[in-house]
């Protein structure tokens, strides 16, 4: 590679990493009540000087109470889903694995639904989501057994476990009272509208720390993606490091799902797109997946709250827009798994 080409590539990488922050700032003016960008900037920069006792302006009220928390949630949840998808794909040496195909999404959704419907948030939904998501992964590994590194056994086990948790989720819906059911169904379709600073105070640090750990493990994932035998021969403590990646990937997905509901496809589509663009090296794939996952969810949320007079559930949007987009890419590129 020539010097100028590598410099251009480095610039593009930095631009891609900065993209979610730029999109977040630009998205603050979008919504049913448009706020000019200049007013967004003024409100953001003057907020600390206003002090807690001062009455909020309408702009500040909308920005700080509604838009900023949901956009921050979009940023963190998008990064979490994409990074955990990329990590699990490397770990299971399987480009078709993501949080949905391992049962993590529906495990987490079932855990959070249990907490929301029966415990009235007395038991933190994040914790319930994580516990059930871990149970889902354990079940997948248990069912796949000794073939846990094979593509088909893992996918089949994941489908079985996902179906089990979907059935359990339906059971919760069946016995939930009508008010709880309505909220639960809307939440299950994926929505960032529930973003409140109270939840985010717990969720965002968990996601942030988890994503950071996975990104720090990015080169190790190159080694783990060669298979257990090879990684062991190369001196890696395979069992310990796989357990670490699975635990952290499950944690960030569960933390995101417990607030956003089920948002599928991000963990599958984004890492594939990134691999098509920059190759298979996880040193690039993981940080860029975080950036593009965050960007995708921010844009999806912009569309969700601006395209119609009502809010479109973001989970529906990511599926409806993401799947055809992914099919086109699959047709146009023979380098999908690379």
């Amino acid at each position: 590679m020539t010097g100028s080409a590598s410099k251009t590539r480095a610039w593009l990488t930095w631009a891609a990493l900065a993209l979610p922050v730029v999109l977040l700032v630009l998205s603050l003016n979008l919504g049913s009540y448009p706020i000019p960008l200049k007013a967004v900037w003024t409100t953001l920069t003057h907020a600390p000087a206003t002090g807690p006792g001062a009455a909020p302006t309408p702009y500040a009220d909308i920005l700080f109470r509604v838009r900023l928390p949901r956009l921050l949630l979009a940023l963190f949840a998008g990064a979490a889903l994409a990074v955990s998808g990329a990590s699990l794909q490397a770990l299971f040496q399987n480009p078709l694995v993501f949080e949905f195909s391992l049962g993590i999404s529906y495990g987490a959704a079932f855990g959070a639904a249990l907490s929301l419907v029966f415990l009235g948030r007395a038991f933190p939904p994040q914790l319930a989501a994580f516990a059930m998501a871990v149970l889902a992964v354990l079940l997948v590994v248990l069912i796949a057994g000794r073939s846990a590194s094979g593509i088909v056994p893992v996918l089949l086990s994941g489908i079985i476990v996902s179906a089990l948790f979907q059935a359990l989720l339906s059971l919760v819906e069946f016995v939930a009272n009508p008010y709880a059911l309505q909220a639960l169904i809307f939440w299950l379709m994926g929505s960032l509208s529930q973003a409140a600073w109270g939840d985010l105070a717990v969720t965002l640090p968990v996601i942030g720390l988890g994503v950071l750990i996975l990104i720090l493990l990015r080169w190790r994932m190159n080694v783990l993606s060669l298979g257990d035998d090879e990684a062991r021969a190369l001196g890696v403590n395979v069992r310990r490091e796989k357990a670490l990646v699975i635990a952290v990937a499950t944690l960030v997905t569960a933390a995101a799902t417990s607030v956003t509901g089920v948002i599928n496809w991000v963990g599958l589509i984004v890492p594939h797109l990134v691999r098509m663009a920059v190759g298979a090296d996880n040193r690039k794939v993981l940080p860029l997946s975080a950036a593009f996952g965050a960007s995708l969810l921010i844009v999806a949320d912009d569309i969700a709250r601006s395209a119609a007079s009502f809010e479109i559930p973001i989970g529906i949007l990511t599926s409806v827009v993401g799947i055809p987009f992914f099919i086109v890419l699959l047709k146009r590129s023979g380098r999908v798994w690379r």
């Binding site: 590679m1 040496q93 480009p95 190159n222 060669l226 990684a231 021969a233 403590n237 298979a280 690379r338």
Partner: protein, 252 residues
């Protein structure tokens, strides 16, 4: 580094590997030969700790391999599988760099020193300038060389190669075995290689180990060990040893 095996026993499903006393001398090429299912690859995987050999059965430079941590073990012994069967298409450089895992912390990444070692290893196997190519674009012969380059980047003194010449054309077969020879002669590596091609084994090895049904049947320098009765008992077929112009051939 010398590799010593003492009363190694390993079993899985209905197969049992039993190797009594065996020494692989320092800086020598030893070929492990035998029919399919003889246990050659299982033996090699035990030596590489890919399969868990019992404690105090395999010693490298006097150190019990089973008592070492993964990192320490990988710095002593490198394993070259028969084929790379991974899913993602890494660039040659990224693949060779995985050989540096034993030297890097869990949260670490390769440095410029690791890249330099990877480049040097690739040059040594004759693939200089191929760092940016993707692994899946390489021919079978080139892939084998890249696998060996990764083992070189690993810096281990003992290299275990599982059938490195299978599915290769004669030229690449000779090149791969000549490389093994050079690694022993020039770099002082202890090479243990499983092979099916007996001509290659005789031509490039200092020692041969014959295996059948999970056991070592005979071992020693090729020309002193080889005999037609031995071949008959190992392969269950008639084979003639033909010597011509200093070369040994096997007529079947």
């Amino acid at each position: 580094m010398k590799v010593r095996v003492e009363k190694l026993a390993f079993a899985y499903e209905d197969f049992r590997l039993e190797v009594g006393e065996l020494i692989f001398p320092d800086a020598r090429v030893t070929s492990v030969v035998g029919p399919n299912g003889a246990g050659k690859s299982t033996f090699l995987k035990c030596l590489a700790s890919v399969l868990p050999a019992p404690p105090r059965t395999i010693f490298v430079d006097g150190r019990d391999l089973a008592a070492l941590r993964g990192r320490e073990r990988a710095r002593l012994v490198a394993y070259v599988p028969q084929e790379a069967s991974f899913t993602f298409n890494y660039a040659v450089l990224d693949f060779i760099l995985t050989g540096r895992a034993a030297f890097l912390p869990t949260f670490g990444a390769p440095t410029s020193l690791d890249v330099a070692l990877a480049e040097e290893a690739l040059c040594y196997v004759g693939l200089d300038g191929q760092l940016r190519r993707s692994f899946f674009e390489l021919s079978s012969g080139e892939r084998r060389l890249v696998l060996i380059a990764r083992a070189l980047a690993q810096g281990s003194d003992v290299l275990l190669l599982d059938e490195p010449t299978s599915f290769l054309d004669p030229r690449h077969e000779v090149e791969t075995m000549a490389l093994c020879r050079r690694l022993a002669d020039e770099k002082g590596k202890t090479i243990i290689v499983t092979l099916h091609n007996l001509e290659m084994a005789v031509r490039y090895s200092d020692g041969m180990v014959f295996m059948k049904n999970g056991r070592v049947v005979a071992s020693g320098p090729p020309r002193q060990t080889l005999s037609e009765p031995l071949l008959r008992s190992v392969y269950d077929m008639e084979m003639r040893i033909v010597e011509c112009a200093g070369w040994v051939f096997f007529a079947k």
